[in-house]
């Protein structure tokens, strides 16, 4: 029987995006998720991971970002844990995407993409850690 939970750790370095991709392919094949689904989950985790690396840490020390994926009856739950500065993406104001090229601002685009692709996002700060939990239904595939 395929495992329903899959966890891995990433170091605070952008080159770890390749590791993230490999983990998702392994997990996706075991569970039998569609390529489109894996692509979208990869994108969501990439955007979150890149945000954490880019804005989360003031020091140059190595940090660990922990990712857990759990398959439930109707969907996939993601949990991302980091020990960076408090940041709540749920409250973050995303840009207006219906703008022209001149007006278009790029900040917050990653979070806009995450919200579009996930069905549910929930944030908590606990023991100096950011814990973000996201849910995506496997039956429908938004976008």
């Amino acid at each position: 029987m395929a495992p329903k939970e899959y966890s891995f750790e990433l170091k605070s370095d952008l080159s770890e995006l390749d590791t993230l991709c490999q983990h998702l392919e392994t997990f996706g094949q075991k569970i039998g998720l569609s390529k489109k689904f894996i692509f979208e989950v990869n994108l969501v985790l990439d955007e979150l991971f890149t945000n954490i690396i880019s804005y989360g840490f003031d020091d140059d020390c190595e940090h660990i970002i922990k990712v857990t994926m759990t398959l439930e009856n109707k969907g996939l739950c993601l949990s991302i844990e980091d020990d960076g500065k408090p940041f709540n993406p749920v409250e973050f104001k995303t840009p207006d995407v219906s703008c022209s090229i001149e007006e278009c601002k790029i900040g917050g685009l990653g979070i806009h993409i995450i919200r579009k692709l996930m069905d549910d996002i929930c944030y908590e700060r606990s023991e100096n850690k950011n814990i973000l939990k996201l849910k995506k239904g496997t039956a429908k595939s938004k976008c």
Partner: protein, 110 residues
């Protein structure tokens, strides 16, 4: 990610192969902006072999499109795979970026 640069009748063509994310976008940005500062006013980015793009990749495309527009030039984006195109659509970028189906469409537009 691999970037193959070609020149065809004065048009700079960039063929992307692999994944355009925050780890690879800087290298691509450098190449695009080198071409712009070398005076290139017509560019095509070929997405045929690009399997993945994140907002970091979109950011580079947007920045280069704005920069080349200021020089009265133009950039065309062609041959996107469905998943990649969907990222442009989610971001709303498909409404103002020139995305065409094939390389021929892109070259014919100049």
């Amino acid at each position: 990610m691999e970037i193959i640069e070609e020149k065809q009748g004065g048009i700079n063509i960039f063929k992307l192969n692999g994944r355009l994310d925050s780890n690879t976008s800087q290298g691509f940005e450098k190449k695009l902006f080198q071409a712009i500062s070398d005076g290139s006013k017509t560019m095509v980015v070929d997405f045929k072999d690009l399997d993945y793009i994140s907002s970091a990749g979109l950011r580079v495309i947007l920045k280069a499109t704005k920069a080349i527009k200021r020089e009265d030039g133009r950039i065309m984006l062609c041959s996107m795979q469905d998943y990649v195109k969907e990222v442009f659509e989610i971001a709303g970028f498909d409404s103002f970026l020139p995305i065409v189906a094939t390389m021929d469409d892109a070259l014919d537009s100049f």
